[in-house]
């Protein structure tokens, strides 16, 4: 539906460009069943996925987001590493990428969830979140971010 609106603007080719997502893990954990599955579902849905191994440091994730023109960052966490996400969001803002939505998937205790949402995490997916739910959620966040970039006033 908004495709039509965007297509009316000749200079923007974003509508044809598939959403580009970075799926990564920061911190110390290495379990990757969830991140690999989510990456596969996003690719099947036509998105472009940049996938890294575990243990990424924040500066590297930010640099990758810049280089690859990433539109959304998905972080997989098992039990602890999500505690670093507020630092990541700060680093993204400092690099001028404050508008890139950050989502988390994994085991995130309730009290951490509140803290992370306050820090600016766009969405948190838990065990049992469906593949479709995640794909559509991510698509919607990217579309909203694209709209906001085109027209900051109405989008807000």
């Amino acid at each position: 539906m908004h495709n039509a609106t965007i297509a009316a603007r000749p200079k923007r080719t974003q509508a044809e460009r598939p959403p580009k997502v970075l799926i990564t893990k920061i911190g110390l954990d290495g379990h990757d069943r969830g991140s690999r599955l989510v990456a596969a579902y996003l690719r099947d849905a036509g998105m472009e996925v940049v996938y890294t191994g575990p243990w990424q440091v924040i500066d590297h994730v930010v640099a990758l987001a810049v280089e690859e023109d990433i539109e959304l960052i998905g972080l997989s966490s098992l039990a602890t590493d999500h505690m670093l996400v507020p630092q990541l969001i700060e680093a993204l803002r400092a690099a001028g990428l404050g508008e890139v939505p950050v989502v988390i998937g994994g085991i995130v205790p309730d009290e951490d969830e509140r803290l992370l949402c306050e820090a600016g995490v766009a969405r948190i997916y838990h065990p049992g979140s469906g593949g479709d739910e995640i794909v559509e959620g991510i698509r919607a966040l990217i579309e909203a971010a694209r709209r906001a970039a085109l027209d900051p006033v109405t989008a807000s």
Partner: protein, 566 residues
């Protein structure tokens, strides 16, 4: 499906009335159910609605089963099995700081825990000291350990001479080295120290969960062989190797694949020992295994029975060893976390009980039962107590220990055991054809197979083919009372205090002694003709920290770098 060494032959049925009754049943069944009722288990094996003398008959008893404590090992590795001695209730315990670990361990020992295990913090798993990581990550998934002093606190109430200890440890095996140093301090001879280096299977870490991955693949390979050599000679009751199927199955491998990968890894470790000049008759009795037990009840039982049979066959036929001590397939099991749900978390208590029962009926030697809140957070104390109590209930109330291999001779279980055996053999042949486990892992083959199986499984959950109560069926409104209480995370003051103590510890040591010991590691790491673990023990004795030892080993042998793709 045919048993590899016992091709199915037509059974001569002489039971009066069998044919007629069988035909009657088939007709009634087809009428009631219809033709399209194919059921396949997680390993892809088709499961019939009924098993009878047609699929398995007692005339195969001696070929397929025999007796407990002897080949073909189907009925268990000891003559008396759980009736003689129940399995060890060995819960993973690990949280916060050493004092907290000690307190939690005491609580669980009071709840019926019979063996000790140390689950270290992720910082430890990655080969780092606490002062090398972001403090916010400390102590949430395991206990923070840097020094011999930390381990002393953790194990203050544990008699290393009588209680077996299970250490989350991998190359360069600092935790085991510190435990040996601790035994020396307490004047307990190493010949009395028993336990397991439970995370020592570097291949499984490389392909599956990437946790204990401190050294390069080749570096871990060299270190592990040295370690097996050293403990076999000097710590005869220690299990240096726990070959793990749990990691691959949790990462998505089917039960049959996980068993196949584990057996292929065990073959690889044995071959590496042999190539290093070790006698397999000496090292194989100390090999142990560790499996995931999912809620696919009969499939898991069949997997474990089949694995026992195959390992005995490999040791006999491939290695030419008849010694039963080498053929015994001793294993620990853990209930599967992947089957647990965040939704309606108390349901997980039922799941864990069923998984645990499958492992017990499969003949395990020790068991960890997951806490019901594991899909929500690291286990809280209340949930951890329920998990231990579940084991006590199964052991002491349900009568599961009364009879050895109580499902032996079941038409279904015997047929399924042989079918799983054939499927495990098939997967093993794929790995063997790729040059064995080390080569298959180095080439990424095993990782791809796991990824495909994880995808197949998830697709079935997504489509609703695989029911998960509370997730894609019987979905209910969330009850706030089900939420666990907040975890008691380390405060900044607590981590600061701990880091300060680490700093004080480092400064109080005999610096020259520590440096000399660490230099010994660097030299030994560069010289394949000497035993590297010996130097790690010397460094632990001298007071080197975990991170310092790992750093030296990593400098020469290279850092772990998993081959990942999605």
């Amino acid at each position: 499906m045919a048993h590899a060494s016992n091709p199915a032959r037509p059974v001569q049925l002489t039971l009066p009335g069998f044919e007629e009754a069988g035909a009657r049943w088939r007709s009634d069944y087809d009428t009631q159910v219809g033709p399209d009722d194919e059921i396949r288990n997680r390993s892809g094996i088709a499961v019939e609605p009924l098993y009878t003398e047609v699929q398995w008959s007692g005339e195969r008893y001696m070929d397929d089963l025999g007796f407990p404590g002897e080949a073909p090992w189907t009925r268990g590795i000891y003559a008396s099995m759980h009736r003689g001695r129940a399995w060890a209730r060995r819960q993973l315990v690990g949280m916060r700081l050493p004092d907290d670990y000690r307190a939690r361990l005491r609580t669980l020992l009071d709840s019926g825990l019979t063996a000790v295990s140390v689950a270290p913090c992720n910082s430890f798993m990655r080969g780092l000291d606490a002062d090398e990581v972001d403090p916010v990550l400390l102590g949430t998934c395991g206990v923070v350990i840097n020094t011999l002093e930390d381990l002393m606190t953790c194990l203050a109430d544990v008699d290393l001479g009588t209680m077996s200890v299970n250490l989350g440890d991998n190359a360069p095996f600092t935790l085991t080295a510190m435990t040996l140093a601790l035994a020396e301090e307490r004047a307990i001879p190493w010949t009395r120290v028993s336990g397991t280096s439970n995370q020592s299977d570097y291949l499984s870490h490389y392909v599956a969960n990437h946790m204990f991955l401190r050294l390069s693949l080749a570096g871990a390979r060299r270190m592990t062989t040295d370690f097996i050599d050293y403990t076999t000679r000097l710590v005869p009751r220690w299990n240096p190797l726990s070959v793990v199927g749990q990691h691959t199955q949790q990462a998505g491998a089917t039960p049959a694949e996980a068993m196949a990968f584990t057996l292929c890894s065990a073959v690889q470790y044995a071959e590496d020992c042999r190539a290093a000049g070790l006698k397999l008759e000496d090292v194989l009795p100390r090999f142990s295994f560790f499996f995931d037990v999912s809620i696919s009840f009969f499939e898991e039982i069949a997997k474990l029975r089949a694995g026992r049979r195959i390992w005995g066959r490999i040791v006999r036929d491939r290695f030419g060893i008849d010694d039963p001590r080498c053929q015994r397939f001793r294993f620990h099991a853990q209930t599967s976390g992947v089957d647990l749900t965040r939704q309606q978390p108390l349901n997980n208590i039922a799941r864990v009980a069923v998984q645990a029962a499958a492992g017990i009926l499969g003949g395990l030697q020790s068991l960890h039962t997951d806490s019901f809140d594991e899909a929500l957070s690291s286990p809280t104390e209340k949930a951890a107590r329920v998990a231990v109590a579940t084991q006590a209930i199964l052991c002491e109330e349900a009568g599961l220990t009364d009879v050895i291999d109580p499902l032996g001779g079941s038409y279904y279980v015997e047929t399924l055991t042989s079918a799983m055996e054939a499927e495990i053999d098939r997967v093993m042949a794929v790995v063997e054809a790729a040059g064995g486990m080390y080569a298959a892992v180095d080439a990424g083959l095993v990782q791809r197979m796991i990824g495909e199986s994880a995808r197949n499984f998830q697709d079935k959950v997504e489509s609703g083919d695989r029911t998960m109560v509370g997730v894609n069926a019987y979905v209910a409104e969330e009850d706030p009372a089900d939420r666990p209480p907040p975890l008691r995370r380390l405060s900044r003051a607590e981590t600061d205090d701990f880091l300060e103590r680490l700093d004080t510890y480092k400064k109080s040591r005999d610096r020259a002694g520590v440096t000399a010991a660490l230099d010994g590691i660097s030299r030994a790491a560069a010289d394949p003709s000497v035993n590297l673990f010996e130097q790690v023990v010397a460094a632990a004795r001298a007071g080197a920290t975990h991170g310092e030892i790992c750093t030296r080993a990593r400098e020469v042998l290279g850092a772990g770098d998993p081959r990942v793709a999605a």
